[in-house]
């Protein structure tokens, strides 16, 4: 059966990017095309999600080659919901970029590269072929490297070099793992691998291969001990770029980990213990890092690392409830982290700095905007009915059932530290009286026209609304993650859909 529909979120971004290249220097046209393109992709993603939800897994064999031989694209509930969330974040970033990114950057191809990056993300979520996944990762790295260096300030280049070096290393591990996997089984199709890997007699070789994948994806998703590239590169680019990076790029590593370790390598005790240890250390180092940082974006970067641990821990527990918790957290995290970096960008427009010592008095000056931001921060902490609360319940439940008390303790510490740093940030940035000092730059936000102001605030409100929905409509999200988790525990429908046999 032919389902070209599922490739639409990838193709639409590709067309948008090519169209943008024709308007190389015309920045106004670029802004309009970019927003329109992201909007079309969002519609396509919503369509894809409803189709997958109603009719089950969609499969497309690229170039019409039969399944284990050609490249397969698969959309199950997991990948289509990731595409949907990416499209929400993509639209928000497109809108924010239209007002928040300097003209000079747009003239050097900011928007085309942004859409190539989003195309890479959607492609990575939809592919059903492990080597093709690698290729999409390369598309993502190349685009993100350009976005990171665009502008060419010294700090940016420093961050970019660290980012590039570690990501190349991660790709090398990933590629080596693929090579070993192909050597063992002779196939690259994920569904085919899922059938052949359990039959391999040499289990140690399979474990070694699995560790290569953990290393590769672990570096990409900033897991302890190789997380340090993230805080040292994410504070350098423009906020719109940092939002895409913080919200989506690390999550693609998480997605790949979940996909590979639920479909191809079913974690044995050794891998589970390893994942849990990594999770605990990631949560602790991330939260300790967040405590000492006084720059908003650096603090958020460490919070990303901290919260990555929650998801890895959920994967390490490997029960249906734990996976539900981890997936719920993943969905919540993608939206909220994108939004946090957009908020940081907005504060920078208003005050010209992100240093908490120099900030202050935002609540007095912008009370309504501050309340909007407060919703986002409360969701991040996980105040009960908001979105950060529900996944932790599931994670605790799964932790108690399997007796992983250390992980539970780490999650509690991580949550407390998040609460602490966020409330301290609230007090410093919003409540504290602004330090009197003549050198403070003027408020660029205040001088903007109503159009630009709307472009900056709308995406934040839009993502805050989605966060609210994730929290208050937790029932629906739970239904989605429950279905994904059951699909992960029983992969036969996936394999049958791809290979067309049982």
């Amino acid at each position: 059966m032919i389902n070209n529909y599922l490739i639409l979120p990838v193709i639409a971004h590709l067309f948008t990017a090519v169209l943008l290249l024709f308007f190389w220097r015309r920045t106004v046209a670029q802004r309009i095309i970019s927003i329109a393109g992201s909007f079309i992709v969002l519609l396509a993603a919503i369509g894809l999600f409803t189709r997958v939800w109603n009719n089950g897994i969609l499969v497309m064999q690229a170039a019409n080659w039969e399944a284990p031989f050609g490249i397969t694209f698969v959309a199950d509930v997991f990948s289509s919901s990731m595409v949907l969330l990416t499209s929400f974040a993509g639209l928000a970033v497109s809108l924010f970029s239209a007002a928040g990114v300097a003209r000079a950057r747009m003239q050097y191809g900011y928007f085309p590269i942004l859409h190539f990056l989003l195309m890479g993300l959607n492609g990575a979520f939809l592919t059903g072929d492990i080597f093709n996944l690698y290729v999409w990762f390369e598309v993502i790295i190349i685009s993100s490297f350009v976005l990171l260096t665009l502008g060419g300030r010294k700090a940016q280049l420093e961050g970019a070099v660290k980012y590039m070096a570690l990501n190349i290393l991660a790709s090398t591990f990933f590629l080596t793992g693929i090579g070993m996997l192909y050597g063992i089984t002779g196939t690259l199709n994920m569904a085919d691998l899922a059938m052949k890997v359990p039959l391999v007699g040499h289990r140690i070789l399979v474990d070694v291969t699995a560790i290569f994948f953990i290393l590769g994806f672990g570096i990409k998703s900033a897991v302890f001990p190789l997380y340090f590239w993230l805080p040292s590169s994410y504070h350098t680019p423009p906020s719109a770029v940092a939002a895409i990076f913080g919200g989506l790029l690390t999550k693609v590593g998480i997605y790949a980990l979940f996909r590979v370790f639920t479909l191809i390598f079913i974690p044995d005790d050794f891998i589970r213990t390893l994942l849990i240890i990594l999770a605990v250390l990631t949560i602790l180092t991330g939260s300790f890092g967040a405590i000492i940082k006084r720059n908003i974006r650096r603090m958020f970067s460490y919070l990303i690392v901290c919260h990555i641990g929650f998801m890895i821990g959920g994967l390490g527990l490997f029960s249906e409830v734990a996976l539900m918790g981890a997936l719920f957290y993943l969905f919540h995290d993608m939206i909220i982290k994108t939004n946090l970096f957009l908020i940081a960008g907005l504060i920078r427009q208003q005050r010209g700095t992100m240093n908490m010592e120099k900030l202050g008095g935002l609540y007095a000056e912008y009370p309504r905007l501050s309340l909007l931001i407060a919703i986002v921060l409360f969701s991040l902490i996980g105040i009960p009915p908001l979105s950060g609360f529900w996944p932790k319940i599931y994670l605790f439940e799964a932790g108690f059932m399997t007796g992983q008390y250390i992980l539970i303790a780490a999650i509690i510490i991580g949550s407390l530290v998040t609460l602490y740093v966020v409330s301290r940030m609230w007090a410093d940035v919003f409540w504290k009286r602004a330090p009197l000092d003549d050198t403070s730059p003027e408020d660029r936000f205040k001088r903007m026209g109503i159009g630009k102001k709307t472009l900056l605030v709308t995406p934040i409100a839009f993502l805050a609304f989605i966060s609210l929905y994730i929290g208050l409509g937790a029932e629906n999200i739970t239904a989605v993650v429950q279905r994904i988790a059951s699909e992960m525990m029983d992969t036969t429908p996936y394999i049958r859909a791809v290979l067309g046999k049982s």
Partner: protein, 137 residues
């Protein structure tokens, strides 16, 4: 560079190299070659011309800036990739005409994809090289 031998040779080599790049492009489907290699050979022809007569003259010879070729080539490749969808086939399926055309051979959507790659490679290579040369001048 002021060398009569180079100047004379270049004026003969430019068309020959361009013709050769098209030959490499066309044989690429079943034999070694294809859009990428063909594009590199074509850009070598222009680089050689620029080397001899100066980058300004090469740009004048090309009429359009090579950067224009990048979106054009990408658009061609994307469209040929997307064309099968209109016939209800999966993306990137090869579409072929029934009878081979003399000289060129079998024509299909893969050829247009390769042609797109050819244009993108020429555009990228020349844009990079010319930018570096003009920066130095």
């Amino acid at each position: 560079m002021k060398s009569t031998i180079l100047k004379t040779a270049t004026s003969y080599l430019l068309p020959i190299l361009l013709l050769f790049s098209v030959f490499i492009l066309l044989r690429g489907h079943y034999h070694p070659g294809g859009g990428f290699v063909g594009g590199l050979i074509a850009s070598i022809a222009f680089v050689l011309h620029g080397f001899t007569y100066g980058t300004e003259n090469t740009l004048k010879l090309m009429r359009y800036h090579p950067a224009v070729l990048i979106p054009a080539g990408l658009a061609l490749a994307t469209l040929s990739m997307f064309a099968p969808v209109l016939l209800g086939l999966p993306v990137m399926t090869g579409l072929w005409i029934d009878e081979p055309i003399p000289v060129i051979g079998m024509v299909g959507s893969a050829l247009f994809f390769d042609l797109g790659v050819y244009l993108v490679v020429i555009g990228v290579v020349l844009t990079i090289l010319f930018t570096i040369t003009q920066y130095n001048e």
